[in-house]
Symmetry: C2
Subunit: 483 residues, 2 copies
């Protein structure tokens, strides 16, 4: 048996069977996800009752399927799983992804025994198991997916995640902000295929340029250490270690049955490897966005430009606190910009024009473009970060022009970015109504299409960009030292 080759089958199966499909159940949800995602191989639903679901013939048993099957998704109750594994092994199935829960993560002795039995079957047969207690594989390249709404296009980010609910959220949240995935694996209890094997695979995967991981526990510490070292020499790794407090570690045991390990050990390990450590799902999404979209600034000199005096003061504090430098303009440039403003507004009252820049009162796209262009052209800034508080644009005091401000400001930002290519990030925040969110999603999509990262708070943008820079600063320092 070739374990590695079988692992290949979880990403590139030529045919998939789904055990436990009935109308309206979650087996059908898995089936529909494959059909909706354009899976190119054959799909065989299984159920002793036979019949047809979603227009596809249902087979009573894996043995009855007329062709070879590479990959099986298992949605039948836990006690029936060992027999399914035996049948699959007899059929020559290479990998089973077990959605079913109720194994080592459960309180019951029965569940723990069942998982032990699975492990024995794996060893005896050479069949590979993903999970149990997992969603399996999303590989858009071949139309393999566990949710019909995931992007159909491929991308550069690989994600592995021990939690099923979290991976659904992570993919959806990141996709809305333009992140596209090479592969995304929900791997649950990791009774056979574990984080180390997946990371090893992704390190070598040519589709994958960035790796993100949500990990609750590690099966084989020394092996994980080796994998991490190789991985981080090749690609950036963003990692959320869940269960990093003693109470969280106890929760982990009940969730995926994993041993969480001590936070000090994790901290040292991840630091040594140069991994980017984050602490919640939002931060994980922010980092996937940053690595997907932000071009590398030459340094930490940031210009911040956005709407609202108070928001600008807080943005300045936010970036300064995160380790950025906000240099004021040289006198001559400041004078020129102040004069240029007069082409578009009668007075600069209520504006701030020396980093931060509050140019909200300019009512024309040309005006925004002119000022942003000058900021981007100036060599004294390494990075431009804009921000707009979307709810505040619904405010009568600022006149009708303000209502279109988010659009003209965003368009100007995109135009300048295309022309100058200065690293640029966009913050759209202050979402209070469904109309605010609708407008935000539209502006965000425009930005993504233009290759700009979008964040939803100034603080989170500052944190993410700082982490991104620290990662590259560390790489550069290592390169200088020749190691």
């Amino acid at each position: 048996m070739d374990k590695k080759k079988n692992l290949e089958s979880i990403f590139n199966p030529t045919s998939v069977a789904i055990a436990g499909v009935a109308p309206g159940n979650l087996g059908q949800a898995f089936l529909d996800s494959l059909l909706d995602s354009g899976f190119q191989g054959r799909v065989y639903p299984l159920n002793p009752k036979g019949g047809e679901v979603s227009g596809v013939k249902v087979y009573a048993n894996i043995k009855d399927v007329p062709e070879p099957v590479d990959y099986v998704i298992c949605c039948i109750p836990a006690p029936a799983v060992p027999q399914l594994i035996k049948d699959c092994a007899a059929k020559g199935v290479k990998v089973i992804s077990i959605y079913t829960a109720g194994f080592s993560e459960s309180d019951s002795r029965e569940g723990k025994q069942l998982e032990t039995e699975i492990i024995h079957l794996v060893k005896a047969s050479g069949i590979r198991i993903l999970g149990p207690n997992c969603l399996g594989v999303y590989h858009p390249e071949v139309g393999l997916s566990y949710a019909s709404d995931f992007p159909k296009e491929s991308g550069r980010v690989a994600l592995i995640c021990q939690s099923g609910g979290s991976i659904i959220y992570l993919i959806r949240a990141a996709a809305l902000r333009g992140v596209r995935f090479s592969k995304a694996v929900s791997y649950g209890n990791a009774c056979d295929i574990d984080e180390s094997e997946l990371l090893e695979y992704l390190t070598k995967d040519v589709e994958t340029k960035i790796i993100a991981a949500y990990i609750e526990g590690v099966k084989d510490g020394p092996r994980f250490h080796r994998v991490l070292k190789e991985l981080s020499a090749a690609k950036p790794l963003i990692i959320l270690k869940a269960g990093y407090t003693p109470a969280g570690a106890r929760a982990v045991a009940s969730h995926t049955g994993a041993l969480a390990g001590s936070n000090e050990v994790w901290d040292r390990l991840l630091q040594q490897a140069g991994a980017i450590r984050v602490y919640d799902l939002e931060e994980l999404v922010d980092m996937m966005v940053t690595f997907s979209y932000l071009s590398l600034p030459k340094g930490r000199r940031v210009a911040t430009c956005g709407g609202g005096g108070g928001f600008n003061v807080l943005a300045t504090d936010g970036y300064a606190e995160a380790g950025f430098i906000l240099p004021p303009l040289p006198q001559q440039l400041h004078k020129e910009i102040s004069q240029e403003i007069r082409n578009f507004v009668k007075t600069d009252a209520g504006m701030i024009l020396n980093n931060p820049f509050d140019i909200t009162n300019i009512a024309s796209g040309e005006g925004h473009y002119a000022i942003l262009k000058r900021l981007a052209d100036y060599k004294g800034f390494d990075l431009l970060v804009t921000h707009l508080s979307i709810n505040n644009s619904e405010w009568p005091y600022v006149g009708a022009s303000y209502n279109i401000w988010p659009d003209i400001f965003t368009d100007a930002t995109i135009k300048v970015h295309h022309e100058v290519g200065k690293p640029t990030a966009v913050v759209i925040h202050g979402i209070l109504s469904t109309r605010d969110l609708q407008r935000t999603l539209e502006l965000q999509q425009k930005c993504c299409e233009a290759g700009l990262p979008v964040y939803h708070s100034i603080t989170s943008a500052a944190k993410a960009i700082d982490r991104f820079l620290r990662y590259h600063e560390k790489l550069q320092a290592a390169a200088r030292e020749g190691c």
Copy 2:
């Protein structure tokens, strides 16, 4: 002249004039806000052109108004402001709130001179000035407001804010989460009425139980120190000091012309006073919500209950990291709860039942109620924090019951809270679509009506509740020491 009495007029004027009203301009926005908010006194729009705006007769000049005027809102260009002040003083006006910008905060010598001139006029006439560069006063009790959509009902929170855009956002964001205000003052450059005078007033204000402040700089340090001491002996003060970094301090000078002061001095000052310091607008809103709605837990033993294994692990980490204790259940109670679950579901596979509690798989409201009731009844928990990831409820794998899960879980939480009265907080997070936000707003309103604080991330809830507890722990320690 009685300065204090004149200050009273900014909150309780019997008549208001608005200088600079024309159809469609911001003067009309101020006028409409008063009309829409049910202001009970007379309102006089002013404009040399006369006419009628929003159905109200416009007077050419303040002198022409047939009755006395207490309060004037000024929206005319900066150079015309000194003459308006003279006319108002002659008319016997007590307070002018100056919306107009272009004074000490501007780059120009002209603006700075204008502000000096205003200060001289104030000293000579006894008239009081709010601003310039401010929105003025929201006092729902008498229908005084600068935005038609602010709540009409009064509440217990007073807010003062040096930034106009920020106060609009703060009031709207807090109002959506059930916060109601006694008074909310946007005070801009503070050339006359300043933070100290406002805080002094609010310390004694019987309507006000909680005070929140966004401050960029202080005019008179020793006086502010005294006011802070008196205030914090009487009421909780939540404070956002904007411009706390050197770069932020420079931004402050361009925004409200204030001297930001050193962060070390502020830190010491606020610590000594026992004020609750926050660092961005979201944290300020979170604290207004917490002080408005959370009843004081007896200690730090928290039970967390919500949907999704990964979310529960991260919630556990989040609360533990913020200094909470998450005790597991005593064996007997754990056994009873595990048995009770069987009344509602066939298997507890996929559930977590020992703090955290993941009871998502229970499809009935009775089931959620039964488990939450047991958690609330248990004396070993001081506080119950629930969480639900709203987007994850749109997920076919978990069956139709999951889609109604947010509603039945929230209803059960509210019912248990009514019956047991255990301090309870609710997190609704993971908002990705307008439908998610719509559902969140509806659930949030239910919670507010039931007297429950709602947060939009686990991390922010943990941080806010920790700050709330630290405030009370400090008070209790001081009380024990008899000081």
